[in-house]
């Protein structure tokens, strides 16, 4: 980080999507030309925007989606261990969201019904070691790690993300005015 002429230390952001739809990340991009403004003061660590696979120490982690499998648990713990501030972004990160509609159903029953041998119609649940183990339920982030802030919405609008993020970066308590606070 020793670019000549660059004396300001940039805020390091990490983002990831767990059991979500990437809608919150798409909404992040909806801050549009403010991305240039953000690039002046912040840089990305682990994020789908950078394709960095593992995160180092960073200031703010924005996490979209709930926790539905063992890999999600590892990812969210890695981000928690590295980020000073962890934000649950969007409905799924906050209360499990639509993926959590499966919580009232038995996971084994779901898998055995969905994965069938096309010829014999017998259950054939995928069992590759490559596949992360599904959890019994979809969990909100705050049931797995400590969450510092929540940014609701499905997805939160670009304006809401911008307001929240700039509040955080400037050291203010993040607050959404009524027009920006939505759960849908």
């Amino acid at each position: 980080m020793s670019n000549p002429g660059q004396d300001k230390v940039k805020v390091r952001l990490a983002t990831t999507s767990l059991a979500g739809c990437f809608g919150c990340h798409m909404s992040f991009l909806d801050i549009d030309e403010r991305l240039f403004e953000l690039a002046e003061i912040a840089e990305f660590d682990r994020s789908p925007f950078t394709d960095i696979k593992h995160c180092g120490p960073c200031d703010i982690a924005l996490i979209e989606g709930g926790v539905c499998n063992a890999d999600n648990v590892h990812v969210v713990r890695e981000l928690r261990a590295n980020a000073k501030i962890l934000v649950a972004v969007g409905a799924c990160a906050i209360n499990g969201g639509l993926p959590a509609l499966r919580n009232k159903l038995d996971i084994e029953d779901i898998l055995r019904r969905v994965y069938r041998n096309p010829v014999t119609d017998e259950p054939c649940v995928p069992n590759s070691p490559e596949l992360p183990l599904a959890l019994d339920k979809v969990y909100p982030l705050n049931e797995i790690v400590r969450v510092d802030y929540s940014l609701p919405g499905c997805p939160p609008s670009g304006d809401a993300i911008w307001k929240f993020l700039t509040d955080l970066i400037l050291g203010r308590m993040p607050r959404l005015e009524p027009s920006l606070l939505h759960y849908d």
């Binding site: 499990g96 919580n103 049931e143 969450v147 802030y149 940014l151 499905c154 959404l176 759960y183």
Partner: protein, 239 residues
């Protein structure tokens, strides 16, 4: 003035017999509530309207206004308590706003907005509740029921049908239907009943009108629920 009390140090007139909530409504002062609607018997169940009356907590919807009362409505402590109540209502049911037809016209959601609820905070219970789609015109989604008993009161006192009741206690309390099968389709319920139109959340949903008003253009998308006080009535779409 004789018949007067104060809300947050502002004088509010009342008619003898009026509750604090009724007097406040008439004066255009907002006190939050979920289980209260003026046409039905007072219930005092949701506790959102909890206020301090001369320093003691009371439900404004059941407590009669009296001369000289000093009522506190908007204090940081009461607002924090109301936010916690809303959070507990959220985690007790399955309230997934993005998938709910009522979103934007739901009073529970609107109170979440009002009290800046950023997350439900408590551990989600994710209760197992069935949906009852047996009625041709009305869908019952028990996942969203907050047991306010407005439908119980409307069906009993206005429709004179007694279609709904609450059975069980505590976390086991649930809405039940008065029919041989326990299904709404086999009850005397009709879409023209008052009870079909009193649900403050998305538990009683009239079929085939769900998205007549688009998401984003609904009452609580456009204005906060506390703005109701100015008009002294609920927005049409929230009824």
């Amino acid at each position: 003035m004789d018949n007067e009390f104060t809300i947050d140090e502002q004088p509010v007139p009342f008619v003898p017999g009026q509750t604090i909530l009724e007097a406040a409504k008439a004066a255009g002062v907002y006190i939050p509530h979920l289980c209260f609607q003026p046409d039905f018997k007072r219930h005092g169940g949701c506790k959102l309207c909890t206020v301090l009356v001369n320093g003691r907590t009371q439900t404004a919807c059941t407590h009669k206004a009296a001369v000289g009362q000093e009522v506190d409505v908007n204090t940081p402590e009461l607002d924090a308590m109301r936010r916690s109540l809303v959070q507990m209502l959220f985690i007790e049911g399955n309230h997934f706003c993005p998938a709910c037809e009522k979103s934007g016209a739901c009073q529970l959601q609107a109170l979440g907005y009002e009290y800046e609820m950023m997350s439900p905070h408590f551990v989600e219970l994710y209760p197992h509740r069935e949906v009852d789609a047996s009625h041709p015109d009305v869908l019952l989604d028990f996942n969203r029921c907050i047991l306010c008993e407005l439908c119980v009161r409307a069906s009993r006192d206005v429709d004179h049908k007694e279609v709904f009741a609450v059975a069980g206690r505590g976390l086991d309390a649930k809405l039940i239907i008065n029919s041989p099968t326990g299904k709404l389709g086999d009850s005397a319920f009709a879409v023209t009943d008052r009870a079909a139109h009193v649900c403050p959340v998305g538990a009683i949903i009239v079929k085939r009108v769900g998205f007549a008003t688009a998401i984003g253009e609904r009452p609580y998308d456009l204005a906060q629920i506390s703005a109701e006080a100015e008009s002294c009535e609920l927005p049409e779409a929230a009824k």
